[in-house]
């Protein structure tokens, strides 16, 4: 479980996250919200690229804000980016194995772990290809394999389906749905594709202007009147 307690992020006079308190739990959790809602900022705070001006975040009871970003990744907080970050000069296998370079594993354990990540993401047959020949979908999968390899505790994905075709999105959706069982990690998914969120997320948080406006089972969250108002610009009817 990710426990976010009164987290504020301030950029000058702007508050991308404003006193946010939220407990993310479930196998696959979605985070949605209009542009500028603070979704990516929240991901950046959890992964260490943005510093919170106040508040605390614990993952499975461990305070993560004290850790350097690379130590969080080694500890098990993994992420992908809106713009994929695959290294063209490396092979698919090397792109994945970089994550285990500091792990205390024997060479056979390491090889097995990489093979497992490639199997989960369907990249086994691409393992020794140079990344520069991969298409956009395969590159997304390489980045996902890097997040999956080893023993991740949380896998966070920032708009993984951006720019993919419907067929590729469906395949990616099936892959993401397999992750909790395959890795025992909690999956956090940010996407504008509400259909994707509705299809695979157990719980969903909805953010708007840095504040939480709904959290709970996905169907309930997405049908919340405040959520509809945030997305459609409709005034909320007072009870």
């Amino acid at each position: 479980m990710i426990d976010i307690d009164r987290v504020t992020v301030q950029f000058g006079g702007v508050f991308p996250l404003d006193d946010l308190t939220l407990q993310l739990d479930g196998s696959i959790v979605g985070i949605v919200g209009p542009n500028g809602a603070g979704k990516t900022t929240l991901l950046n705070v959890i992964s260490g690229f943005v510093t919170a001006s106040q508040g605390s975040i614990t993952v499975d009871g461990t305070d993560i804000l004290a850790m350097a970003p690379y130590k969080r990744a080694r500890w098990g907080i993994r992420r992908t980016f809106q713009t994929e970050q695959v290294v063209n000069e490396l092979t698919v296998r090397d792109n994945v194995s970089v994550m285990l370079d500091t792990a205390r594993l024997s060479s056979s354990e390491r090889a097995a772990s990489i093979e497992r990540a490639l199997e989960i993401t369907g990249l086994v047959h691409h393992a020794d290809r140079s990344a520069h020949v991969l298409n956009a979908f395969e590159r997304r999968l390489v980045e996902l394999a890097r997040a999956v390899v080893g023993t991740p505790k949380v896998i966070m994905m920032d708009e993984p389906a951006a720019g993919l075709s419907n067929l590729e999105t469906a395949e990616l959706r099936a892959t993401i749905a397999r992750l909790p069982a395959a890795t025992s990690a909690m999956v956090v998914l940010i996407d504008h594709d509400v259909e994707l969120i509705a299809a695979i997320c157990e719980n969903t948080a909805v953010l708007d202007f840095g504040e939480l406006i709904a959290y709970g089972p996905t169907a309930a969250s997405l049908s919340d009147s405040k959520v509809r108002a945030a997305y459609l610009g409709v005034a909320v009817e007072e009870a």
């Binding site: 992964s47 690379y70 990744a73 970050q85 290294v87 994550m99 500091t102 020949v133």
Partner: protein
């Protein structure tokens, strides 16, 4: 075949070429050219460090020729202080001292990039020039500077087994090969992967568990070590290095030549050595002012930055790839004269591209 086996097979032609050069150059070239080729080998070692920083990490360091000077100074000081000290050990110690100074010069790289880092490192090279002018190179005297010896000014000692120009060329070649092998091992293992991630983006590197601070610092340390070792070889090659050899302009020229020769490839470092030392030697031999070579380097750098970002080595490897692709029948595309059995698809093109080594 295992990955190591494939790597060894890939390096076999390089080993054969190196063995051939070690035999052929001393056997067929004059002493003038032998010294020029030795200088080229030495220069390539320094260019290797520049390429490591710029090609692998995108960091501009304009202090590497000054670090070569550090290695030359330390190695020469030790060699003249006690001629019984093994020269190879002096060279390594010179490399270690230059690595330490290189690490300190690289510390701003943890915060700075691009022009600002270039300026800071250039100032470091300028500072070294001031210091070396103030204390001069050792002459065999006592004290820290080794100046003021009562006897005749002595040359930097060479290893007892490599006192002739031929033997010294082979010695320098072996040391350079070891330097290239050291970098290659780094590139094929975790530091190489970490550097590639950092070059892609520091955020991506952090998210892959890479300690960006440590790996950036280590790159500067390694580049400093290579420059320092090159400095030791340089001193023993020319005998008496002068303070004027290590001006800040030399570091800028080293960077410019490394980029135009191709800092993304190991071959680029070797080409940089040949360009920097072979071209002036060729001009001098034909009575042309060797300084004209610097103008040519400037044009080559402009051409490289505008039209060939991967430099001469990138052009050559690209040419080799296209020739190999034309000679090798691709899966899905029959050899000339063979009736196609099925149309070539995108998979076939991808497969063929994957077979081209990067």
């Amino acid at each position: 075949m295992t990955r190591l086996g494939r790597e060894l097979v890939r390096l076999l032609p390089v080993a054969v070429v190196m063995l051939f050069l070690a035999w052929w150059i001393p056997a067929y070239f004059s002493s003038y050219w032998l010294r020029a080729f030795t200088a080229a080998v030495v220069y390539s070692l320094a260019a290797l460090g520049v390429g490591l920083l710029y090609g692998r990490l995108g960091l501009v360091s304009l202090a590497n020729f000054a670090l070569l000077g550090v290695g030359a100074w330390v190695s020469l000081r030790l060699g003249l202080h006690d001629p019984r000290l093994p020269v190879a050990a002096n060279i390594v110690i010179g490399g270690i001292v230059a690595a330490a100074i290189g690490t300190v010069i690289g510390l701003p790289a943890l915060r700075l990039r691009g022009l600002y880092l270039a300026l800071v490192t250039l100032m470091s090279a300028g500072a070294f020039f001031v210091v070396i002018n103030a204390i001069g190179f050792p002459e065999g005297g006592s004290g820290f500077t080794g100046r003021g010896g009562s006897g005749a000014v002595r040359n930097a000692p060479r290893p007892s087994f490599a006192e002739t120009d031929s033997a010294y060329f082979r010695f320098a070649l072996v040391v350079a090969i070891l330097g290239f092998a050291l970098v290659l091992v780094h590139l094929r293992t975790s530091p190489g992967r970490a550097w590639a991630m950092i070059r892609r983006s520091e955020a991506a590197a952090h998210s892959a568990g890479v300690n960006v601070t440590m790996y950036k610092t280590w790159a500067f340390t390694l580049a400093g070590f290579l420059a320092g070792v090159a400095g030791g070889l340089y001193a023993a090659n020319i005998g008496r290095p002068g303070t004027g050899d290590f001006g800040a302009a030399s570091s800028m020229i080293l960077f410019g030549i490394s980029v135009s020769a191709g800092s993304f490839h190991l071959l680029g470092a070797a080409l940089a050595g040949l360009l920097a030392r072979g071209l002036p030697a060729l001009f001098s031999q034909h009575g042309i002012n060797a300084e004209i070579a610097n103008m040519i380097f400037g044009f080559l750098l402009m051409f490289s930055l505008t039209a060939a970002p991967e430099g001469a080595a990138g052009q050559l490897t690209g040419l080799a790839r296209s020739i190999r692709a034309k000679l090798t029948p691709r899966r899905g595309r029959p050899a000339p004269g063979v009736e196609p059995t099925r149309p070539a698809g995108p998979d076939a093109a991808d497969q063929a591209a994957a077979e081209v080594p990067s």
